[in-house]
């Protein structure tokens, strides 16, 4: 199993380690609910060294990414970032990505850990004909997320949401980005593996509480953010997930263009709230309350630590004009209200 540069730190902290996408990662250090609340109320510290980082360099880097990805990356200014996707020619999502423009001819593509090999391979395949180099990068990634993040990392008023800049933190050269996956203000710090422990210790000493992957999932769910393998799969298009806005359909040509121009989703991603104590979970059937017929499926669900009741996302038939649905929670039918996403907004 692969280990990040912070593995010894996690061992020292007594983390509950889990196997995740081939990596041995901290699931939680103590209580996942307490870690969740730390991020909402103060600041949490995450090791994201498992995320795939791919450097795209060369004179045609922007033109290549305009072709390979669904967004218009050439329009991203140096020092800014964009949420985008790599799609199959069928329009199905291969991965959702954050792409930073580090220089005119240098982009950093950040992929989900489980998808990093396929993203790297497909970008390599699509790069034929472009003067561009696609290379896997081996850097650490540490996130500081929460309302106190700017107290810990520094205000950085010049660094807007979805921006990145070179910076010195704890005496180390880093790339400091104002991005995240928790629904809070926060930073993602890209640094050399050799510097990861120093930066982690520096942020922890300033009050950021170590937080594991368990709370990362409940935080992103409350923030209504999709997770690959749940809301996004190769069988769903960005439009299905309500993320059609990330696709620049007017681009001349890009991978998946033909399919994505023709997509008319029959299902739509909705937020569900239930009142019982048992939570809907991924895979549970969503039923029409009038007929009891299956009209959809839950993609993610958990008891929301912030809201105090279960929340879920589900794909349901678009033709439905309902405000209430039922979820089959392991044989018990729970009434669910359809609510707008996100469930939580800072």
């Amino acid at each position: 199993m692969r280990r990040t540069a912070l593995h010894d730190v996690h061992r020292r902290l007594g983390a509950n380690l889990t196997s995740f996408a081939g990596w041995e990662m901290p699931l939680r250090y103590g209580s996942d609910v307490a870690e969740h609340h730390s991020v909402r109320k103060a600041a949490g510290l995450f090791d994201l060294g498992h995320m795939g980082q791919i450097d795209i360099t060369g004179p045609e880097a922007a033109a290549f990414l305009d072709y390979a990805l669904v967004g218009r990356l050439s329009a991203v200014a140096v020092g800014r970032a964009k949420y985008t996707m790599l799609c199959h020619t069928t329009g199905g999502v291969i991965d959702d990505l954050v792409v930073y423009r580090l220089a005119e001819q240098h982009f950093l593509v950040v992929a989900n850990a489980a998808n990093a090999p396929v993203v790297l391979a497909m970008l390599g395949e699509h790069s034929g004909g472009y003067t561009v180099t696609v290379t896997a990068a081996d850097r650490a990634l540490i996130a500081v997320q929460g309302p106190q993040a700017a107290t810990i990392v520094g205000e950085h008023p010049d660094l807007r949401y979805y921006a990145i800049k070179p910076e010195r933190l704890a005496g180390r050269d880093v790339l400091l980005a104002r991005t995240g996956y928790t629904g809070e203000d926060g930073f993602e710090i890209y640094c050399e593996n050799a510097d990861a422990e120093a930066i982690w210790d520096w942020a922890a000493a300033a009050g950021a509480a170590p937080a594991g992957l368990a709370c990362r999932d409940t935080l992103r769910l409350e923030a209504g953010m999709p997770l690959y393998g749940h809301e996004l799969t190769v069988r769903t298009t960005p439009m299905h997930a309500g993320l059609g806005r990330v696709v620049a359909l007017d681009k001349r040509d890009f991978v998946g263009a033909e399919a994505l121009r023709a997509v008319e989703p029959e299902s739509v991603l909705v937020g569900l709230v239930t009142k019982g104590r048992r939570s809907p979970r991924a895979g549970h059937a969503v039923l029409d309350p009038a007929t009891g017929e299956k009209v959809g499926e839950v993609t993610s669900g958990a008891p929301s630590p912030t809201l105090g009741h279960p929340i879920a996302m589900a794909y349901v038939a678009k033709s439905l004009n309902l405000t209430k649905l039922l979820v089959d929670v392991r044989g018990t039918r729970e009434e669910a209200d359809i609510v707008p996403l996100p469930f939580y907004k800072r």
């Binding site: 380690l17 307490a34 969740h36 409940t218 048992r278 979970r281 008891p303």
Partner: protein, 119 residues
């Protein structure tokens, strides 16, 4: 105290107290909901006899022996976090009048089962 491979513990009494082990509680994470059988329910060893839901997942509680449920821990229903904070004490689940059942593990046997495994 005896243990099952499904990570329940039970006391060696005629009316045994049953809970889940610290190993299991740690693997589940913060427990937010517990459902237990009604007193009077007859169970067979290995049968699902309730469920435990954490933020991350749901797990069934398997009866560690044959018998009749005589009491459930209302405190743990009201405050499921007791399962995390005191799995072998205040976080007990139910009491079972044992009538039979398969061989269970002693402490060394259970320790061997979970050795080398980070929960």
């Amino acid at each position: 105290m005896r243990y099952t491979k499904d990570h329940e513990w039970l006391t060696e009494d005629e009316v045994a107290t049953v809970g889940i082990t610290a190993y299991a509680a740690d693997a589940l994470g913060d427990v937010v909901f517990v459902e237990l059988p009604e007193p009077g329910t007859t169970v067979t060893a290995g049968d699902p006899s309730g469920e435990i839901e954490s933020t991350k997942s749901v797990s069934e509680i398997y009866a560690p022996a044959d018998g009749e449920i005589v009491e459930v821990n209302q405190a743990v229903i009201d405050d499921p976090a007791l399962i995390n904070s005191d799995p072998f004490g205040a976080g007990w689940l139910y009491r079972l009048r044992v009538t039979g059942g398969p061989e269970t593990l002693d402490e060394a046997g259970y320790a061997a089962l979970t050795a080398g495994d980070s929960a």
